[in-house]
Amino acid sequence: MTLTKERAVYDQTDFAAAFDEHHRALHRLAFLLCSDRTRAEDLVAEAFARVYPRWRKGGIEDLGPYLRQAVVNQARGRWRRKALEDREEARQTGDGRGGRLFDDTAVDRDELRVALASLPIKQRTAIVLRYFEDCTEAETARLMETSVGTVKSQVSRGLDRLKGVLEDGRKS
């Protein structure tokens, strides 16, 4: 689909179909980036909202990469806020935290999840894009708006930190 003078105006039915096609994959990606189902839904909703104006004008040929980029961008911005919130929660006594934190689930014991959550956002994003989304280094760099060299270093450092966790798991 290309931009033309007589560009089409897409209606709600089209957008609903696009949502149905992409939202599950985006939700999984967002979940890996933020470890929280509710926040993952927020990221997905915001990603669709950001992409919608351009999509409606017919300026997007393949919606998937745009939505994936939007989720990564949103996760990057929200990660900082979440870190602050988590620190604040850690300082509080009792359990006044709300939301459906992933920590509350049975998979809370998953060492990889804990290790992944402890990675700086760049390392985490690089790891998820490379090994979950199967992006190339160049694709990962484009999505993270950084250089291939940075992706390499972030992936390397991230794997180093995950290595211990996975090796321990292998022994046990």
């Binding site: 939202h23 189902r37 909202a49 998979v107």
Partner: protein, 549 residues
């Protein structure tokens, strides 16, 4: 790369993703409702948002292009009343501190910086006219904080800085840099420079970029894309470097690790020579900012205060200005000859001529180590660390009031200016608008801006506009004659005690030459400083109120 490890990570990530479960049904409704709302937009009117003290904030979208079935909209920056703050939209980059912040004439470029876990190699550009951010492409240099950034007229030059330093680790200086063309959004690396890294200083002067780091300095010759060494300065190090005088010279000041000042020197980029200058009288140095015709050095004072001294190029000497209540972490900026200081919860303007301080309405957030630029219309602040240690996730913009006044002082309870009672001629209304139409507050803004000048020459003060005022604010007499018959402005000074003076400023507004609405505004200065006899004292505004004449 360990293929087994990579395979393991893939497998575990896939299992983790399964735990995400199915999105809630509400997500679909939410997304489609949002899309429907956006689709209805043609003209957008965003509701006003109140800031701390003032200002309706209206965001309107303008239709600028109609193409086929679509309407392209451009959202202008919200208009904010002078003296008020507005909140900047969310940036596409993570919060941080110690980043490069440069004003290009149309955009604030933010790049690099750090949070408490990583250095950033990304950046973004904010256009205050469209009120929009755009992400910048990745720079070809590593992430860092404390880098120097300077605008050359068409490029942003970034050089030096440090990386790391998280936890117990040491910071590592970086000896490279890059140039960004904001129009094409293209970066290119700088050639290797004959200087060491660290937290450098950079100044654009005489068409070249002079970068100083520690004991070394070099000039980046833009047209030739090469570095030229700068002669060794007669200083132990170059801690700060700013333009001086008419901008053709640079002033460098050295600070020792124990925060004592070890000297200052002037560099002429054309001759390539240094001239040793007098030591600043201000103990320690927190900042050095260029002001019209010179520079002001800021040193540490008693807790919660700073000391300032002014560099006078013609005399090659320093002159003490005064003591100001401002955190040491404050970032200073210069606008229209006044120094604005922002740090912690304080926001002040320091009158360069007198050193007098006026406390302004602070933003609704505190921040230090932030990026700060002046656009010509607004002071933009973004990022930085708040007192809690958290990084400020956002930015604020402040629109200075004409002539530097603000609303931080107690509001008068009686309004006698008759702004609404005048004859209502077109010219008068225009002038009233020029004076912000704020009635008593407008008078106070005027007095705030000029009392220092008048107090300093207060012997028989019954003239109107001084030559200095005309030079500093061209056209002031034309702007004010209709609203205020300035020849009727009176200032009287009475010394209350050994350390206090009561200053009474009377302003009469001649509405129609038949009746006037006199205003008497009482200003009280206290504390040690410089009095009208020229003794070294500084004034602190304790109270400012107006009473009916």
């Amino acid at each position: 790369m360990d293929q087994e490890l990579e395979s393991k990570v893939r497998e575990r990530l896939a299992r983790m993703a399964d735990d995400a479960g199915a999105p809630s049904p509400d997500l679909r409704r939410r997304v489609l409702r949002e899309a429907a709302d956006r689709r209805r937009l043609r003209f957008v009117l965003v509701p006003a948002a109140a800031l701390a003290t003032v200002a309706a904030l209206v965001l309107a979208a303008l239709v600028v292009q109609r193409d086929g079935n679509d309407v392209v909209t451009v959202t202008p920056a919200p208009s904010v009343e002078a003296g008020a703050w507005r909140t900047l939209p969310e940036a596409p980059i993570a919060p941080r501190e110690e980043m490069v912040a440069v004003w290009t004439g149309t955009e604030m470029i933010v790049w690099g910086g750090r949070d408490d876990e990583q250095d950033f190699d990304d950046g973004a550009a904010f256009n205050p006219k469209t009120n929009e951010w755009r992400p910048l492409p990745a720079a070809p240099i590593a992430g860092r904080h404390g880098a120097a950034g300077v605008w050359t007229g068409d490029r942003v030059v970034v050089w030096g800085g440090v990386e790391g330093g998280f936890g117990n680790a040491e910071e590592s200086p970086l000896n490279d840099g890059a140039v960004l063309d904001p129009k094409s959004s293209e970066w290119r690396t700088l050639p290797k420079a004959p200087i060491s890294g660290g937290r450098p200083q950079a100044v654009f002067a005489s068409g070249e970029v002079i970068v100083a780091a520690g004991i070394s300095a070099a000039t980046y010759v833009i047209g030739e894309d090469r570095w030229r060494p700068v002669a060794a300065a007669p200083l132990r190090r170059i801690s700060r470097l700013v333009p001086s005088g008419d901008g053709r010279q640079l002033l460098a000041v050295a600070t020792d690790p124990d925060a004592s000042i070890s000297g200052s020197a002037v560099y002429d980029p054309i001759d390539g020579d240094w001239t040793k200058a007098a030591d600043p009288p201000t103990p320690g140095m927190l900042d050095l900012v260029a002001v019209d015709g010179g520079a002001v050095i800021v040193g540490s004072g008693a807790p919660g205060s700073v000391l300032t001294s002014r560099w006078i190029p013609d005399r090659g000497a320093w002159s003490p200005l005064g003591t100001h209540a401002l955190p040491e972490s404050a970032v200073l900026w210069v606008f229209a000859g006044d120094i604005y200081g922002f740090g912690g919860k304080s926001f002040v303007v320091i009158d360069v001529a007198s050193g007098a301080v006026t406390h302004l309405t602070p933003p609704d957030v505190s921040s230090s180590s932030h990026g700060m630029v002046f656009t010509g219309e607004e002071i933009l602040i973004w990022g930085g660390a708040q007192e809690s240690g958290a990084f400020l996730d956002g930015g604020r913009a402040y629109t200075p009031k004409p002539f530097g006044g603000d609303t931080a002082q107690p509001q008068p309870t009686t309004t006698t200016t008759g702004e609404d009672e005048g004859p209502g001629t077109g010219s008068e209304n225009a002038c009233a608008g020029d004076f912000s139409g704020r009635g008593e507050e407008g008078v106070r803004a005027f007095v705030d801006a000029f009392y220092s000048t008048r107090v300093r020459g207060a012997t028989g003060v019954d003239d109107c506009i001084t030559q200095e005022m005309r030079q500093q604010f061209p056209g002031i007499e034309n702007r004010c004659e209709v609203c205020f018959k300035l020849p009727l402005l009176r200032v009287s000074i009475e010394q209350a005690d050994a350390n206090s003076w009561a200053v009474t400023v009377s302003v009469e507004k001649d509405c129609d030459a038949a009746s006037c609405n006199p205003i008497r505004t009482e200003v009280i200065f206290v504390g040690p400083g410089k009095n009208v006899q020229g003794e070294q004292r500084s004034f602190v505004v304790r109270g400012l109120e107006a009473v009916s004449g």
